[in-house]
């Protein structure tokens, strides 16, 4: 179970499921209590499922239905086109461009973010003075909204009046037109993501590291292993489930990238060459600027498939990587 990162859950014994194990109590109002016992659990979970059906499952299924049609947001359903939208999508250069951009930004952001978070967690895991101060400080960027991050970093990396270019100019490297070029644009978006998420992931890793059994570590130290070696061959493999969780969570979040490149790239197109347009921006352009609901729905489904694919790939890749030690 990918999301089960709690070691305590596994440690604690769950009681068996079967109703027979319930202690036979001497309840007052036996009949009412039976109704309570049988019905209440369903009542308790019903709000979730009710909302899930209306705002989760229905849109999901309906997206698939819409994607098989020529369907305009304003004029409604036009006609059934089968897989026509998907066929167009596979030939669509702008879609491929958006997928490539998203993947590139995703990789450029996720890998350094998680590596930095691992390092930061290792630092935070030392017996530090002012432990809480450091932990809260590194979490601050995470509470800043993506919109604010997008705006502020767009200015910091501005071509003519950005602080970063002023510094680069001063040290003699010269100004960089960050948003115009693909690679530099990716880099800036990656920096935004990294700034916002490194601290958060470090705390998640830190929590996992603290439950690595102490005797293992001590035994390794007695055997003369270096700190570096202890970190990579004992601590990292032990927190593997957590790493898998963060990789998958970052990937899903990365596939939904929208605000940062939109604000930095100057609009839904992500620049004159669509150099920073992500899949979600493309979905927005098709669905909510051009109002082509059918096509946008097809994009949605491709995003879903991509998400599953990425999750599966991540899962197997990280598992292999972490166990290869």
């Amino acid at each position: 179970m990918a999301f089960d990162l709690s070691r305590r859950t596994r440690a604690r014994r769950k009681l068996p499921d079967s109703p027979d194990n319930v202690r036979t109590p001497t309840w007052r109002g036996h009949r009412w209590s039976l109704v309570d016992l049988r019905l209440t659990p369903y009542l308790m979970i019903s709000p979730f499922f009710l909302l899930f059906f209306v705002f989760g499952l229905f849109p999901l299924a309906f997206t698939g239905w819409i994607s098989l049609h020529d369907w305009q947001m304003l004029q409604g359903e036009q006609r059934f086109v089968g897989l026509g939208n998907y066929a167009d999508l596979l030939r669509d250069k702008h879609f491929r461009n958006a997928v490539a951009n998203t993947t590139a930004m995703l990789m450029l952001a996720t890998v350094p973010t998680l590596l930095a978070a691992l390092g930061l967690a290792a630092l935070l895991d030392r017996g530090l003075r002012g432990r809480m101060f450091w932990r809260t400080s590194v979490l601050v960027p995470n509470i800043v909204s993506v919109v604010a991050v997008g705006l502020v970093f767009s200015q910091l990396f501005g071509r003519d009046y950005g602080v970063v270019n002023a510094v680069l100019d001063w040290v003699g490297i010269g100004r960089v037109d960050w948003a115009t070029h693909r690679l530099t644009g990716y880099l800036v978006v990656a920096v935004m993501i990294m700034w916002r998420w490194t601290g958060y992931n470090a705390l998640v890793y830190l929590a996992a590291m603290q439950s690595v059994p102490r005797d293992q570590v001590e035994a390794a130290v007695i055997d003369g292993a270096s700190t570096w070696r202890v970190f990579w061959s004992i601590i990292v493999p032990s927190i593997r489930p957590t790493i898998i969780f963060t990789v998958i969570a970052s990937t899903i979040a990365g596939l939904q990238l929208f605000a940062e490149p939109r604000l930095f790239g100057g609009g839904t197109l992500g620049g004159d060459d669509r150099q920073l347009q992500t899949i979600t921006m493309y979905l927005y352009e098709k669905g909510f600027e051009l109002f082509d609901a059918g096509y946008a729905a097809a994009v949605s489904w491709m995003v879903f498939l991509l998400t599953l694919l990425c999750a599966a790939m991540n899962f197997s890749f990280v598992r292999r990587l972490a166990s290869s030690e």
Binding site: M73, L74, R159, G267, D272
Partner: protein, 422 residues
């Protein structure tokens, strides 16, 4: 001490704003509120107050947003059947697209708008019609007669003439404008000659009879319209030679560039003057001047006031629109902001023709813009102009930034446009 009290006063404003936001809607006491949505400042504040004074029971509420969000949310609001203002300004470039949804707008002819036809120059009136003339969709506000703004001080520094009649003689054609750019670049390399390729391209395109679509049958001609190609090439050349500041109007970098004085010329439709003033501020007063644009006039922009059908008080909304576009008001707006009225009785009015603008070194803006107005022939806009325009805009941007050779960018735009139109 006084600074502190001032600070407290400001806080009070913020708090009051917060509270007011909570109870602003409604109005109460049988009062009706008519919202008027514009993109940018149309110079209506004072007129609103007067209208409210003349019409007790009517409150006018401005809603100002910027160009793109304004039009995009209008489209969504029309689709959702909810949220549109009672009176909505629509820019001329968006009219063809919205004309297709004319049923979502009140036919102003039903409310007596045909009586107002005589106010307008004929092409402006026709631009506001839909459904082959059966529907009056919008009442014209201003029009965008073209001129050229230039920085006198930079021209002097570059050894070029500074007097506006002399400057006009520098560029009877766009080729000569280009040659002036070369001269300027040699003499004053630290300042760009134009703001962006896009400005030059748009101006040139607006001067030609047709743009992306044929006037005869609305077919796509972007691939073979020589005027369009010439505009693209000229504009792209300026960009690739590094003679543009690469900032386009309606963006923050453009504003900063005006403040800093990063470029020396730009095509100025009448309404642009306000933008330049707002961006430049007092420290740039008197540095700019205005003269004629190469190859004569053209219309760029200008707007209409429409009344979406979904509104609660369409009758009252129409009255407001008619009031705001009436000659008396249009004249005051012109004298106030420089937005050129689309009504001959006004742009031939001596008070209008005689207007000069101190900010622009006393340029006779009335004469410059109004004299061109009579001979204006607006460029034809296809029904799907707004689909194609951004594609060519992006291509020009790629050429300007050097991301792609101009010819390649143009060819790609043609291909993309054809795909998008399919």
């Amino acid at each position: 001490m006084s600074a502190r009290r001032r600070g407290r006063g400001r806080w009070a404003v913020v708090v009051v704003a917060l509270l007011a936001a909570g109870c602003a809607t409604g109005g109460g006491r049988g009062e009706i509120t008519i919202t008027v949505a514009t993109f940018g400042d149309f110079g209506y504040q004072q007129l609103f107050r007067e209208y409210e004074a003349q019409h007790p029971g009517v409150r006018l509420q401005p809603r100002i947003s910027e160009f793109d969000p304004h039009h995009k949310s209008l489209v969504t609001q029309l689709a959702a059947g909810k949220g549109a203002a009672d009176v909505v300004a629509v820019e001329e470039g968006y009219m063809p697209q919205l004309r297709q949804s004319f049923d979502k707008f009140v036919n102003l002819a039903d409310l007596g708008a045909r009586d107002l036809q005589s106010r307008y120059v004929s092409w402006k009136w026709e631009q506001g019609l839909a459904d082959s003339g059966k529907v009056v969709m919008g009442l014209g506000t201003d029009m965008g007669s073209l001129a050229m703004c230039y920085r006198k001080d930079y021209f002097q520094a570059a050894g070029l003439p500074t007097d506006r009649t002399q400057v006009a003689k520098l560029w009877p054609t766009w080729e000569q404008y280009e040659r002036t750019a070369d001269r300027f670049a040699q003499a004053k390399p630290d300042v760009k000659f134009a703001d962006s390729s896009a400005s030059i391209y748009t101006a040139m395109l607006n001067q030609s009879e047709e743009g992306y679509f044929a006037r005869a049958d609305d077919s796509f001609i972007g691939d073979r319209n020589s005027n369009l190609k010439r505009a693209f090439d000229t504009a792209a050349r300026l960009g690739t030679k590094g003679q543009t500041a690469r900032v386009s109007p309606f963006t923050q970098p453009w504003t900063v560039a005006i403040q800093q004085g990063s470029f020396a010329t730009m095509p100025c439709p009448a309404w642009m003057l306000t933008l330049v003033k707002n961006a430049g501020g007092d420290q740039n007063r008197g540095k700019w001047d205005v003269t004629t644009v190469p190859e004569g006039g053209g219309n760029q922009g200008g707007s209409f006031l429409t009344v979406p059908r979904q509104g609660q008080h369409t009758r009252e909304a129409y009255d407001v629109a008619a009031f705001l576009t009436a000659p008396e008001q249009e004249k005051r707006i012109f004298l106030d902001t420089g937005s050129l009225p689309s009504e001959p009785s006004i742009y031939q009015d001596p008070g209008v023709v005689g207007k000069t603008d101190d900010y622009f070194s006393g340029a006779p803006v009335g004469k410059l813009f109004a004299s061109a107005a009579d001979g204006l022939h607006p460029s034809y806009r296809g029904l799907r102009d707004s689909v194609v325009r951004p594609i060519f805009g992006a291509a020009l941007g790629r050429a300007e930034s050097g991301a792609q050779p101009p010819q390649e960018a143009f060819m790609q735009a043609v291909t993309e446009a054809k795909t998008a139109l399919k």
